[in-house]
């Protein structure tokens, strides 16, 4: 069944559009989706996902079980970068700053991977809850803090930051567009509830799958261009990290699930969140906070290696894992 799901995922239009973008970029096509349009679509996606989660939350509410899963998500986001950093330092020749920056990406999350997992969970016949969107939002930033602490230890004496007010840095990172829109839309969906949100469905629910195709085309283009620029910097060990790190994260999240009162569907999503890596919010935060880290490394890893791995092989695996540890 996991294999069925994997093949079915591999041939889904969403994945195929990613492949199309990837192929076009690798063939050095000049095609591009304009930044302003892509940014608009990203905001749309955040709104749609946040609203959906919020509306579902308005039906079920916030019990102690929910809070426990949220806390687990935050904890994973804080802790995973430490594991990632240790692994990277042990297995690759990346310097401390590059390793810390890459580690931050793996503690944070990918919202597209999350959406794909939600649909796969659904297809596999399990149910998931809206509050996982809140968990996703909560997991976006803690990893960045961990990475900054790690980098601060490693590169202790670099005088960097002289002219950079810490408060402003924190605000820029914490109030980035992804988090603001995702959390905002979640709260709005929660307040509005299913009835008042219903008129929004023709815009935010029905077309979502199609919009994802457009966005994944853009992601494929970005991944392809990233690979073209970044492959020279990638040792095999670094590429390998992009594949086994999600598995390590998934394992850690699965262990956590054993201790949580969580359904199979929700466990699959929490595991996927842990296993996914950021390619929007964290890269931007790294340019702000760790400018010496090389984007060619962390972007190639998270967007060029881990994202496609998760989208195709990872998600079916995480669902299987969830069946094992939860329910």
């Amino acid at each position: 069944m996991a294999l069925d799901l994997a093949i079915s995922t591999l041939l889904s239009p969403v994945v195929l559009f990613f492949v199309l973008g990837l192929a076009a970029a690798l063939a050095r096509s000049e095609m591009a989706i304009p930044e302003a349009f892509a940014k608009g679509i990203a905001i749309y996606l955040m709104m749609a996902i946040g609203l959906k989660g919020g509306v579902e939350m308005s039906k079920s509410g916030l019990g102690p079980d929910v809070l426990a899963v949220m806390a687990a998500g935050v904890a994973l986001s804080f802790v995973l970068p430490i594991i990632a950093y240790v692994v990277l330092k042990a297995t690759t020749r990346l310097n401390s700053t590059d390793a810390a920056a890459a580690a931050a990406h793996y503690g944070s999350i990918s919202i597209v991977t999350f959406v794909a997992a939600t649909q796969a969970v659904d297809l596999a016949g399990f149910e998931s809850s809206g509050y996982l969107v809140a968990v996703a939002a909560l997991m976006e930033t803690p990893a960045i803090i961990t990475a900054l602490i790690i980098a601060g230890r490693g590169a202790s004496k670099s005088a960097s930051g002289a002219a950079r007010p810490k408060g402003e840095l924190f605000r820029e990172v914490a109030l980035n567009a992804s988090v603001v829109v995702l959390v905002g839309a979640l709260i709005i969906g929660w307040i509005a509830g299913p009835e008042k949100a219903a008129p929004l469905n023709p815009f935010f629910v029905a077309p979502l799958q199609g919009v994802l195709c457009l966005f994944l085309l853009d992601m494929g283009l970005a991944a392809g261009r990233g690979l073209r620029n970044g492959w020279r910097l990638m040792q095999p060990a670094t590429v390998g990290f992009g594949i086994y790190m999600p598995l390590i994260s998934a394992g850690a999240a699965a262990l956590v699930c054993l201790a949580l009162p969580i359904s199979v569907g929700n466990a699959a999503l929490l595991i996927t969140l842990a296993a996914s890596a950021s390619y929007i919010a964290v890269p931007a935060a790294m340019r702000l906070a760790l400018p010496k880290a090389r984007p060619a490394i962390y972007l190639t890893l998270s967007l060029g290696v881990t994202f496609p791995f998760n989208l195709t092989f990872g998600i079916p695996l995480y669902i299987a894992l969830a069946q094992w540890v939860a329910g």
């Binding site: 304009p34 930044e35 283009l221 890269p283 931007a284």
Partner: protein
């Protein structure tokens, strides 16, 4: 017309706030920022479109100002450019209302 300086700072987008602070604190009275859409540096080309994180591109900050303000900002700009990607250049220009700058 009166002689002033034109500071042109080509800098990565995510460092713009830091640059702004430095210039504002040095007393620069105004600047204008443009968004680059492509470039070349360190042996490879980049394009703004297709940068999902919208953080890898460069912006171009133009400030017409008096030399003393540049002098005051120079040390901090130098440090900024040690840490973040960018190119600073200064040239001579003539302006209409010298007291503005």
């Amino acid at each position: 017309m009166h002689e002033k300086r034109r500071l042109e700072l080509i800098i990565e987008r995510m460092a713009l706030n830091r640059a702004s602070h430095i210039l504002e604190e040095a007393g620069v009275t105004g600047y204008t920022v443009l968004s680059a859409f492509a470039g070349f540096g360190g042996g490879s080309r980049w394009r703004r479109d297709g940068d999902l994180s919208h953080s890898q591109d460069m912006v171009v900050l133009i400030a017409i100002c008096a030399q003393d303000k540049i002098d005051r900002a120079l040390k901090d700009l130098h440090q900024l450019l040690d840490e973040q990607i960018g190119v600073l250049s200064v040239s001579a220009v003539e302006v209409l209302r010298p007291d503005r700058f």
